[in-house]
Symmetry: C2
Subunit: 222 residues, 2 copies
């Protein structure tokens, strides 16, 4: 489903920062990939390249056989809307819309409006649905971001630190939803995180270090 061919990302002109060094990777359908790595190792950069939010400085990113670099801005926006559910590291909620409205907007854009209540309930936000982001705790905002990605029912879920702002119990519930998306709905889920406790749920565990893949192992379904 996802393939990186010598994909890399470099910032800066005289002092070059190699956020991601040339990387080859392949992810299949129904894989729950956990990418572990310390702060600054390139996790968000990798996810942004796969989700088409950023273009590689060199190399190619292919999703479903389509090279993202070959798409014009409209086609790339369509791809992101239809193929990818993104849970951002800092949520990116629309501040003037309530929790429910933030989720509805994503559903509307991809036509799945009847799934909103069950999903808000599944992330424990049924009684906070009418709050604006500014009226929500950090962990509640994160859960709106998760609901918004799930409601689109996309084939590819890209999650940047999806449990960073919540406690262990709430985190388990969120991770359960992501695991269910893989095991019951056949999605491909990529979770990037600095939290090694999440490694246990991976069917594929990749370690990132200084912008490069340090190890890549397949594991039995937990």
């Amino acid at each position: 489903l996802v393939r990186l061919e010598r994909a890399e990302k470099t910032y800066g002109t005289d002092v070059k920062i190699r956020a991601l060094k040339p990387t080859d990777l392949e992810f299949r359908r129904g894989e729950l990939v956990v990418v572990l790595g310390p702060s600054g190792s390139g996790k968000t950069t990798l996810l942004n390249l796969i989700g088409g939010l950023d273009r590689p400085s060199a190399g190619r990113v292919l999703v479903d056989g389509v090279s993202l670099g070959s798409l014009d801005p409209d086609a790339l926006a369509d791809f992101r809307r239809d193929k990818v559910g993104f849970v951002f590291q800092f949520f990116n909620l629309i501040p003037s819309l309530t929790a429910r409205e933030n989720v509805e907007l994503a559903a509307e854009l991809s036509g799945t409006a009847d799934r909103i209540d069950p999903i808000l309930e599944a992330v424990g936000l049924a009684d906070r649905a009418g709050h604006l982001p500014g009226q929500l705790s950090g962990g509640e905002q994160q859960r709106v971001a998760i609901a918004r990605a799930l409601v689109k029912d996309p084939p590819l879920l890209l999650c940047d630190e999806p449990t960073g702002a919540v406690d262990f119990e709430t985190g388990k519930a969120i991770l359960g939803l992501l695991q269910e998306a893989v095991q019951r709905r056949g999605k491909t889920v990529l979770i990037v995180t600095h939290n090694s406790a999440l490694a246990a749920m991976a069917t594929r565990l990749i370690r990132l270090k200084d912008g490069a893949v340090a190890s890549d192992e397949k594991r039995p379904s937990p």
Copy 2:
């Protein structure tokens, strides 16, 4: 140094959300207080009341004997600038200023400009100092927020999930700095977090549940 007398915070008009129920608490100088609690339990609310970023719906918050509710807006702003170093849950960096400039601004406002380099180094950001927040990873942004609070050298450090965005190793370094602030410089440090691993460093451990203190224990210095 800090005292809460029946301090509470309630939101909403017909449906009332009791973010913090009437709470009595007292913190002394040189205490490293860790406040643990699940998502939505009132941690950020508690911290905002102590730091004067928010007013209680009822009850009083006193710092150094002064009731924050008795201060006019200017006096409250002076208090926050001089007495409190705040590490926000979502950093609140100024997007148009570099990492260094964000820290300099805090130093300028409280006159401690010569401490900037050592502090940037202590949080591991020496070679990212010229980046804007948008050019920093999540964990790097968090470290700028920490540096900004430390550089003011305030008597009271209030930290909302100070290691939420970083890996274990980076987190240890940050917590080491906070511990040093208490042990060597006699500060009062309050860390609120959902991460129970931080409990080990507390000389005072408070558990919050549904807006109320569930337990409050003193502990020997670790």
